[in-house]
């Protein structure tokens, strides 16, 4: 009896969570895929009609904007956060005295929820209240900083707020990476008289490749599911200039009673995530098999 338990206990302990994941993640992905092929409006219907919802989706200029915004937002957010995080981490790695305090300062934005970040930046960027009004008040009446209300620039306002929120976190990741590089190699390089910037570009940064990958994966999924920041900062406006796929999906599912559209946009979002995650998983698995 005891032996039976010993062999089966791990399976029994894991089974509930396995079943839960099976139903609530993969089951519902399947359900969404099914609904995305129907004409569901207010309530889900289950007669399959083909790819009409996807046709409608890609005919919709609003979805176009949303998808474009995702690439602008995702690209800039991930790129700038990583560069900024890396620079901050390298600067912080120079054995400065108050490192602990400074690290906390930079990490702190991560402790705020996106709603708080969005609301704060909404006030900062509001032309009538924030930076523009302040600088104009200093005696520069022609100063203009209207990203938030300019439909062409509003998406960059969101990028700005998102970077402010996450670059500290990326910095912490990189800092850990920098500390894990073998100091022997760095000393050896220094003994050979190699300049510091070369030490970084040729030795330290290349050896941190896995950290780059983790930072990328974390930021990419944050970008794709980004929702609360947009809602708090611009509400998707002006017009629908700052819509992202997640806010599009929400509008279709909950405001417009168009569940089929919402499901098809959710499926596209999932495919975008797959396009990023699958190569990562593939390379990880291959590395292990080697």
């Amino acid at each position: 009896m005891a032996r039976w338990f010993e062999t089966h206990l791990p399976k029994m302990v894991l089974a509930p969570s396995f079943i839960a994941v099976l139903i609530f993640v993969y089951g519902f992905i399947g359900w969404t895929a099914w609904v995305s092929l129907t004409r569901s409006r207010l309530l889900p219907k289950y007669e399959i009609e083909g790819f009409i919802q996807y046709d409608r989706l890609f005919d919709s200029p609003r979805w176009d904007t949303a998808l474009n915004n995702l690439f602008i937002f995702g690209g800039l957010y991930i790129g700038i956060s990583m560069v900024l995080g890396l620079i901050l981490a390298i600067l912080l790695d120079q054995n400065i005295r108050t490192e602990g305090a400074i690290r906390t300062v930079y990490l702190y934005p991560m402790a705020l929820s996106m709603i708080v970040t969005g609301t704060a930046w909404k006030w900062i960027l509001n032309p009538g209240l924030g930076i523009e009004a302040m600088v104009q008040g200093w005696g520069f009446p022609n100063f203009s900083f209207d990203w938030l209300v300019n439909p062409d620039m509003a998406i960059y306002a969101i990028v700005l707020a998102a970077i402010w929120q996450s670059s500290g976190f990326v910095m912490a990741l990189f800092l850990a990476g920098l500390r894990s590089v073998d100091t022997e190699i760095i000393r050896a390089a220094q003994v050979d008289g190699i300049p510091t910037w070369r030490v970084y570009t040729a030795i330290i940064i290349p050896s941190m490749a896995p950290i780059f990958l983790s930072a990328f994966i974390v930021l990419a999924h944050l970008a794709i599911k980004s929702f609360d920041l947009v809602i708090a900062l611009t509400g998707g406006g002006p017009g629908y200039a700052t819509d992202l796929p997640a806010t599009y999906m929400y509008a279709m599912a909950f405001s417009r009673g168009d569940i089929g559209q919402a499901a098809s946009s959710a499926m596209i979002m999932m495919l975008v995530v797959f396009a990023i995650i699958v190569p990562y998983l593939y390379s990880e698995l291959r590395a292990k098999n080697d």
Binding site: R41, L42, L43, R56, D59, S60, P61, R62, K122, N126, P127, G128, D146, L148, V149, P151, T234, G235, G236, G237, P238, G239, Y240, A241, A251, F254, S255, R256, G257, D258, Q261
Partner: protein, 414 residues
């Protein structure tokens, strides 16, 4: 065996008891949670309790009803619908098509609803000829509010055409006043848009463009003129309008920062709450042009099991359309009663104008549903139009492009 017999007898007893007493039960899902609205619902709750009913309140705040609709969807899918739900416009028919609404025709006929309600509003309460919802109020959407002092100082009359409005706006702009207080949220853009459609195109054009979604009307020159006027209006709005809430725009009119606001009569509540007098401190008039755009709140009655719940539903329907509730509720809410035979003695001058216009327009066929407030179209179509309107208003899109986009968006939403 003993137990089944006992169960059978007690079930029978309950059924008989239920028939004899049938204490009315009602679970009411709504999103009237803010000050005046909550007070207005409390009135109904009290009346219901006085008639011996048990009211289960289910307020779901947030998202202008989105949260409540999500709750409703969950309840209906689990086969446990609330007795009555705050729903309006074509959404009622949409739910009816899902086969979940009840028939309250016997109450409606007993209470003679078809006599006391304007015909076009009554039509929203019917599903395939049977009554399935009860109207609570009539909000008029095509109002223009103005600061009386600002107009007087600049020698401006309340405009009766859009050209007059534009002339007045130019004058105000020169005087350094913001002509139009507006909040850059999609539904507010849509609100202004529909009043311009009604004003420039007239009631028939409004009907064919925004109710029947006639492709010809949507791409017509009149529609282009409407988008031209929207572009002109964009010039009369201050730079900081993006994302502003409607009540903040109302406050701008109140304190003289801006002259006009185009908004439904819920804006009146803001003026009154600030102690302003209609006719003296602020002026109300219909937006330039003929017609009347209504936004009618109503309660749809869902199919429920049990004698007590059905009794509650009927009592609720009777009370909602009853004279007393229609008066007290609308005094609190700033709207006017849906039934036309309620005394308006205690109402203010704006409400009187609204009521007279409603009856006049009901007779000449220009009593029209508001598209921006979900009375004319289903969610997907209305949303598609709003997307175009707000995209045009917030960019430098030309009217030709906008008209084309509008036709495409409507076709795509079907």
């Amino acid at each position: 065996m003993k137990y089944t017999a006992f169960a059978g007898v007690s079930a029978f007893a309950i059924a008989v008891g239920g028939m004899a007493v049938a204490e009315p039960q009602a679970e009411v899902l709504h999103w009237w949670t803010s000050g005046g609205e909550a007070k207005a619902v409390a009135v109904l709750q009290e009346e219901f309790a006085e008639q011996g009913g048990t009211w289960t309140d289910m307020p779901v705040a947030g998202g202008g009803g989105d949260a409540a609709m999500t709750a409703l969807r969950a309840r209906v899918l689990s086969g446990n619908a609330p007795t009555a739900v705050q729903l309006k416009g074509p959404a009622i028919q949409e739910w009816y098509e899902e086969g979940v609404l009840a028939d309250i025709s016997n109450v409606a006929e007993e209470e003679n609803w078809s006599e006391v309600l304007p015909a076009s509003i009554a039509n929203h309460m019917k599903c395939d000829g049977t009554w399935c919802a009860a109207p609570v109020n009539v909000h008029r959407v095509d109002w223009i509010w103005a600061n009386a002092d600002v107009l007087e100082q600049n020698g401006i009359e309340m405009p009766s055409t859009w050209d007059e409005f534009n002339a007045a706006a130019e004058k105000l702009q020169e005087a350094g006043v913001i002509p139009l207080a507006h909040g850059g949220q999609a539904w507010q853009d849509a609100t202004v848009f529909e009043t311009v459609v009604l004003g420039l195109g007239g009631p028939d054009f409004y009907q064919s463009a925004l109710v029947d979604l006639d492709q010809e009307a949507l791409t017509s020159d009149t529609m282009k003129a409407v988008f031209d006027q929207m572009r002109t209006l964009r010039g009369y709005v201050d730079d900081n309008f993006s994302g502003r809430d409607w009540n903040l725009a109302t406050a701008m009119v109140m304190n003289g920062e801006a002259a006009f606001q185009i908004m439904g009569d819920w804006a009146k509540g803001e003026f009154l709450a600030a102690g302003k007098e209609p006719g003296e401190d602020f002026l109300c008039a219909s937006t330039p042009g003929d017609g009347f755009l209504y936004n009618v709140d109503s309660f749809a009655m869902f199919d429920v099991d049990g004698e007590d719940k059905r009794a509650g539903q009927e009592l609720l329907a009777e009370l909602i359309v009853g004279q007393n509730f229609q008066k007290v509720f609308n005094l609190n809410k700033g709207s006017i009663p849906a039934r036309t035979d309620v005394s308006l003695e205690e109402f203010d001058s704006c409400a009187h104008t609204s009521s007279e216009d409603m009856q006049a327009s009901s007779e000449n066929g220009s009593l029209l549903p508001s598209y921006a407030h979900g009375m004319a179209l289903r969610g997907a179509q209305a949303g598609a139009i709003t997307d175009v309107v707000t995209a045009h208003f917030n960019s430098d899109m030309s009217s030709d492009e906008a008209v084309q986009m509008l036709a495409d968006a409507v076709a795509n939403s079907m």
